[in-house]
Subunit: 90 residues, 2 copies
């Protein structure tokens, strides 16, 4: 895919943020901590993720080299969050 | 999924934005217009999308009722953008 920049520089032409708002801080914290382990153990090459807890919000900030990398990454995070919520019966 | 709010109110507990930066305004515009048709013809129930062109950036702003709705929606937009870029040989 031909997004911006020359091949020699590090280019992250896609950026964004997703915020998930939970009913209360405790719920957000429990889901966040469930996903944090996955976040810390996954290697990234074509996307970079900040995975943050901010009160009752989980915030996913990302940079990606291309569209396909972003789709893969976001799908993983959103799936892990769903699994955490399902297992906590939220 | 038990995100915030009571069943009686309209709740969109997930929000976010993705920005894709293209090498120039013309490229961004051509890709944007290719995807705009899809954007205008898709019905939404569980997510709301603003699909915008801002100079050499395509901006996707979204609200979603739940995680699964968001995944489906983002996958569609990112796939349409990839198809447009591939067909334009970008």
């Amino acid at each position: 895919m031909g997004l911006q920049g020359s091949p020699s520089e590090e280019v992250w032409p896609i950026e964004g943020v997703i915020e998930l708002v939970f009913p209360d801080e405790e719920t957000a914290r429990v889901v966040y901590e469930s996903v944090l382990y996955e976040h810390k153990t996954v290697p990234y090459r074509r996307s970079r993720i900040d995975f943050l807890l901010d009160g009752r919000k989980i915030v996913i900030r990302f940079l990606a080299k291309d569209n396909s990398a972003l789709r893969g990454t976001l799908n993983s995070y959103l799936r892990w969050i769903k699994v955490a919520m399902d297992s906590l019966e939220l």
